[in-house]
């Protein structure tokens, strides 16, 4: 009965966990290993998992800790990996947007995604947990095992780092426009 119950609760998180794992590891094979290990650990620990607590935050915590103790995780603490995959399926469908604006937006989006992939892992994970997984500050503090104040300041620094390339990109564009 227990594995079935676990499957019901944990499988809906599969796609999200994989997305985060891939963003963290920057590699499909490593992401699969990470997700697999996360599920194995959570299934084993499910007995001790207390009902009524946040299963989603709990599984993210396992994934994140597993990543940081893994080979790729340890390597990522020092170097930053570059994501080479193309952004695909960006679905911007507001009809008031002109093609030029749409192109600008998509380029801006790509710049941000590239910057995200290049971000040091401590900042990358906090941005992903906040902006992509939409965890609250309190949940992020639980997952990372840090005080809420640290969550806020680290998130702020991560955003500043992400906005730098975006601004550089805009600046470049305005220079291009001037010289033309």
């Amino acid at each position: 009965m227990e594995p079935e119950f676990f499957e019901q609760l944990a499988m809906p998180l599969f796609d999200q966990l994989y997305n985060l794992a891939h963003w963290l590891t920057g590699d499909r094979a490593d992401a699969e290993d990470l997700v697999q290990e996360t599920y194995a650990k959570s299934l084993k620990g499910f007995r001790s998992f207390q009902q009524g607590t946040n299963l989603r935050a709990w599984m993210y915590r396992i994934l994140r800790n597993t990543f940081h103790t893994s080979r790729t995780g340890l390597a990522a603490q020092n170097t930053s990996s570059i994501e080479e995959e193309e952004a695909q399926g960006t679905s911007v469908t507001a009809h008031t947007i002109t093609p030029e604006l749409l192109l600008l937006q998509q380029e801006g989006q790509q710049t941000v995604l590239d910057a995200l992939a290049a971000l040091p892992v401590a900042y990358r994970e906090i941005i992903l947990l906040s902006e992509v997984e939409e965890f609250s500050y309190r949940e992020i503090a639980q997952i990372l095992d840090v005080p809420i104040g640290t969550v806020m300041s680290r998130l702020s620094r991560a955003r500043t780092a992400l906005r730098r390339p975006q601004k550089a990109n805009m600046l470049e564009r305005s220079i291009d426009a001037d010289t033309l």
């Binding site: 796609d15 995959e85 702020s156």
Partner: protein, 251 residues
């Protein structure tokens, strides 16, 4: 000279993340409205947020991996025989649903016939029963042009027991339609014509059908995207005869 803003950027971000205590939100609204620095900061953070939305579901797992993982956490189980005992329950439930559906359809149809009967009675009871008074089909048909969004043919009734009296515009379920009043001796018969395809379909059977309702006889059919209804207190055979001539004119 603009006053430098002492707002903490972390507080601004908390506001945007929905993490600001509710009692501080009104003050923040007020501040942003008057501080261009903070307004532009908020705009930049918002644009960053929307760009980061693309990271959501950016990487998707393969189907093979999903299957592999699913097997790992929940090995395939033998189908449990006790599932069989739910079959009678499911069957009973399905039967009940079917019954409820049929009954609903039936009552919807009855309601629709009542509305048609209302239109008919209303026209006869009115002091101005007709918008266009003419026994000539060549006057009645063009009169409807521009008043209803479709066109239809009026059969030649001269020489038959039916006399065309005229017509008017009516509405059924917010759809405009034509109502022709045809006299037969002292009886009056309504011919109602609506578009069959537009929007919500009128809940009438698709096939030709004559049925009695409140001592009225109704015959309805569909042709060339139009729904025809003939209703009156005369015999079903006479309704049928009028319907036939309408069908011929509009086939």
């Amino acid at each position: 000279m603009p006053i430098p803003c002492d707002q903490n950027p972390i507080t601004l971000a908390s506001y945007l993340d929905g993490e600001l205590p509710p009692d501080q939100i009104p003050a923040m609204h007020e501040h942003i409205a008057t501080c261009p620095q903070c307004a532009s900061e908020i705009a930049e953070l918002t644009s960053l947020k929307s760009s980061l939305r693309a990271a959501r579901g950016h990487h998707t797992p393969t189907l093979e991996f999903r299957k592999k993982l699913q097997q790992q956490i929940a090995p395939p189980r033998r189908p449990r025989p006790n599932m069989l005992r739910f079959i009678p329950v499911a069957l009973a439930l399905a039967a009940m649903l079917l019954l409820a559906f049929t009954w609903t359809q039936h009552s919807r149809r009855q309601d629709a016939f009542s509305e048609v009967a209302d239109l008919h009675v209303n026209a006869l009871a009115s002091t101005n029963p007709l918008d266009v008074i003419s026994t000539d089909r060549h006057t009645v048909k063009p009169w409807f042009q521009g008043r209803i969004p479709f066109s239809f043919n009026v059969p030649e009734l001269t020489g038959s027991e039916f006399t065309l009296l005229g017509g008017r515009v009516v509405y059924l379920h917010q759809q405009p339609g034509a109502q022709l009043i045809v006299a037969m001796r002292q009886h009056k018969i309504s011919v109602l014509i609506f578009q069959a395809s537009s929007g919500q379909a009128l809940p009438f059977p698709v096939s030709t059908e004559a049925s009695g309702h409140n001592a009225f006889t109704v015959e309805t059919w569909q042709s060339n995207g139009l729904r025809f209804l003939v209703i009156g207190d005369v015999d079903a055979t006479e309704i049928e005869r009028l319907a036939q001539s309408l069908k011929q004119a509009n086939s």
